[in-house]
């Protein structure tokens, strides 16, 4: 719930924008260029916190050190057809702004984007 509070400029939320990908293809040159334009916008307008692209899940290693022995597994923690291929972390006053940015981000990278708030307080 944001409204009265954000008008006072007090509260800023952080959101994780996860880029969801299927298959093994890399971003095309056009997508790369569009992502650069989008990143510039995030930085210019003060939304940018951090962003990154990820290697394929095949190259992931999963560690489980909850028990007596550390278990090392080759591969991601869960095998799915769709996987996380990159992300943005943004600051925005509310979900409407985050959704608008995610809409532009999805267009730029030509992939699905999940918007998720960080825990506040």
């Amino acid at each position: 719930m944001r409204g009265g509070a954000s008008e006072e400029g007090v509260i800023v939320m952080q959101y994780l924008l996860s880029v969801i990908h299927e298959g093994t293809s890399m971003a095309t040159a056009q997508e790369g260029a569009d992502i650069d334009v989008f990143n510039d916008r995030l930085q210019e307008q003060g939304y940018w916190v951090f962003a990154g692209g990820l290697g394929v899940p095949d190259n992931a290693t999963t560690i489980d050190n909850r028990g007596a022995e550390t278990v090392i597994t080759d591969g991601p923690f869960v095998e799915t057809k769709e996987y996380l291929v990159g992300f943005w972390i943004i600051e925005a006053p509310d979900l409407d702004v985050a959704l608008e940015l995610a809409t532009a981000g999805s267009k730029a990278c030509h992939r699905k984007v999940e918007v998720r708030p960080f825990l506040s307080e």
């Binding site: 944001r2 979900l95 409407d96 708030p117």
Partner: protein, 411 residues
């Protein structure tokens, strides 16, 4: 005032003031949960005190002030020392019941928050009925044939997402407004339709509580957005649909189609209001949206003295406009029903048959097809189509109607 009068007075104030109280508290405390709880406590206080103290001269102001105090008491109890914002807002608790303009704005914010596209459609419906309509969780659960605790969880989850995900409490900007208003209207139309053609065995085929609530909420939205054409269109559509309610069921609860309805029992006052709204929209000369077109179609129906007098060319023309606006097989199907009256069942059947791939699981498709086949004297095929429609329908009045139609086919 007798206790019955007081009870009635409180119920009326509840209908009029609930959304206002919740909306203004939500703005002040930035929290739907706190606003809902405090509003409920304020109404409980009214139930307790008004019978002896009398109804205050300005019940809305009394409730808002009481609810504000309840909310602050709660915050103090929960001892949220570090919440400076809330503390700050607590200091101006004695600000008067605000001018209508500001409060109306709050109710609009509340509606847009409850109908936010980031919430699941079912959650939007439940939350709107609770926060704006003031229905209790058990009432909403009964209306949608859902267990009370499941409905409670649905509403709690929606409120939690609004808070955690930062869904704003704001009227959308001009560029987003048409889409967001359309979202609000689709929630209200869903409530109305659930009431008008209730699903589920063992329910009343028409749920007056839901249709009435939907009409009330559209009237509220119209009072807040008086110049929005589609809001007016949806209100007209609901009124003109609702005007036929009494004629729509037989004494034993079977559906009566438009062709066989006793038009003398249609509600003339609702029809007059609906027609006036449609005329006002037509007079603007602006291109009509979806709800305005549906309202216009219903206006043509409710203008005809008999089914045979219906201006079918006009109805087909309106459906043509609607098809251009939203390419949907369901709209095509409804258009085909009008085509059957205008160009005959043979032409209509050809249109309907083309829709099969998309509508094979939609019972009105089979009911429409059955009716056309029956009228063309193709009894065997008609019976098969009726069977399929009956199998797919879950409205008892409709099942009764379809069964009777099927059994009347000469063998």
């Amino acid at each position: 005032m007798s206790s019955i009068d007081i009870g009635e007075a409180i119920a009326q104030v509840h209908r009029q003031e609930w959304a206002r109280v919740v909306a203004s508290l939500t703005r002040r405390f930035g929290d739907l949960d706190a606003a809902e709880d405090a509003a409920a406590e304020a109404f409980a206080a009214a139930v307790e005190r008004w019978p002896t103290d009398g109804v205050p001269p300005n019940p809305g102001a009394w409730l808002t002030t009481t609810a504000n105090h309840k909310a602050i008491d709660r915050i103090r109890r929960e001892n949220k020392r570090d919440d400076k914002q809330r503390e700050a807002r607590m200091n101006d608790v004695n600000e008067p019941h605000e001018s209508l303009g500001v409060i109306d704005d709050d109710r609009l914010r509340l509606i847009f928050t409850c109908c936010h596209p980031a919430l699941a459609p079912q959650a939007r419906v439940a939350l709107t009925l609770r926060m704006v309509g003031g229905l209790t969780v058990p009432e909403i659960a009964r209306a949608f044939l859902v267990q009370e605790d499941a409905m409670g969880r649905r509403i709690t989850r929606a409120k939690a997402k609004i808070k955690a995900a930062g869904i704003p409490y704001r009227v959308p900007g001009p560029e987003d407004l048409p889409d967001r208003v359309a979202g609000v209207l689709s929630v209200l139309y869903l409530v109305f339709n659930e009431g008008y053609l209730a699903s589920g065995a063992g329910t009343d085929p028409i749920r007056r509580d839901l249709t009435a609530e939907a009409v009330r909420l559209v009237r509220l939205v119209r009072s807040l957005l008086p110049t929005d054409a589609e809001v007016a269109g949806l209100l007209a559509l609901m009124l003109l649909t609702d005007s036929r309610r009494v004629a729509r069921l037989t004494a034993d609860g079977a559906l009566v189609t438009l062709a066989d309805q006793d038009r003398s029992v249609w509600d003339a006052a609702l029809i007059a209001e609906g027609h006036r709204l449609v005329r006002e929209r037509l007079a603007t000369g602006e291109a009509p949206g979806r709800y305005q077109l549906l309202a216009a179609i219903n206006a043509v129906h409710t203008s005809a003295r008999t089914f045979q007098d219906t201006d079918w060319s006009q109805i087909v023309a309106l459906y043509d406009q609607l098809v251009r606006l939203e390419k949907s097989p369901i709209v095509e199907l409804n258009r085909a029903v009008a085509v059957a009256e205008w160009d005959g069942p043979q032409v209509a059947l050809a249109v309907v048959d083309r829709l099969e791939p998309e509508l094979a699981a939609y019972h009105p498709f089979h009911a429409t097809r059955a009716d056309l086949l029956r009228r063309l004297g193709r009894g065997v095929q008609a019976r098969v189509a009726y069977d399929r429609a009956i199998e797919l329908s879950d409205n008892p009045a409709e099942i009764a109607h379809l069964t009777r139609q099927r059994d009347e086919i000469p063998t």
